[in-house]
Subunit: 128 residues, 2 copies
DNA sequence: GCTACAATTGACTTTTACGTAAATAAAATA
DNA sequence: TATTTTATTTACGTAAAAGTCAATTGTAGC
């Protein structure tokens, strides 16, 4: 695995702009190291970027994504905090279950829409 | 099934504001009928509202949700349009598959986070 | 017909998530 | 060394999706 990635390498890999990446840094989601002023992204930063974009695709806000990231790097802590963390994990899980149900329902509706389409095309006497 | 719902009934059922519902009407996503100036929401409007909120939870924009709605009520049309529609359906499906994968991955990470938590709690010598 | 209250409309504000542009510096290349 | 190229910082701009507020307008009950 490579030691460092440049910002442009990451923009190309993930199809986002430098502005976006710097914005995520401003938001404290990633903390690339510096050589002079230039940012150097470690594998861990790249991993976080992946996580952020996954979160975005799922419709999570920056604030929510920040919370998720905090969750992952939380342990070592005290027992009460751990319990709280586990509670948060469970809340996220419920959200994701909900989203998964939403997806299944939407997929079903898409199936129906497509069927209606195909039926209509058959009516119109279209071969294939 | 009831004939009509009032706007406040729907805000309560779905936990959204009247402003939001009117906003969706302005955006042309729902078209409640009127008695005087007062909006009366039919079951179909309520169904659309459900669909809209599901779309929102999945991170779709209003524009995308509008497209999805258009898709559902598209047929009767001409064959070329039908093909285009089917193509769109397939694109949506791919998006949803991607989201589903994203969810599975995130769920896995949550499992890991929870395990780490539990392990840490065991270390701390916490019973149950 | 008056009062109280719910609903509507329109204008303005806010928040989020970046885009865009200008100025500057550092690095790579000719 | 001159010239691109690449990156950074700072600052302002913007589109989407509502929230908020004020001024009206209906309307249900008495």
């Amino acid at each position: 695995m490579r030691d460092f990635y440049t910002i442009t390498e990451l923009t190309k890999e993930f199809g986002i702009s430098t502005r976006t990446i710097r914005f995520y840094e401003d938001e404290g989601l990633i903390k690339p190291v510096r050589r002079g002023r230039t940012r150097l992204f470690r594998p861990v930063d790249r991993g976080l970027l992946k996580l952020i974009l996954r979160g975005k695709r799922l419709g999570f806000s920056i604030a929510e994504i920040r919370e998720i990231i905090e969750m992952y790097k939380a342990p070592p802590g005290e027992a009460g905090q751990m319990r709280l963390l586990i509670q948060k994990v469970n809340e996220r899980r419920e959200e994701l279950y909900q989203k998964r149900r939403d997806i299944e329902e939407t997929l079903n509706e898409l199936d129906n829409a497509e069927e209606a389409c195909l039926a209509r095309m058959a009516e119109l006497g279209v071969g294939k």
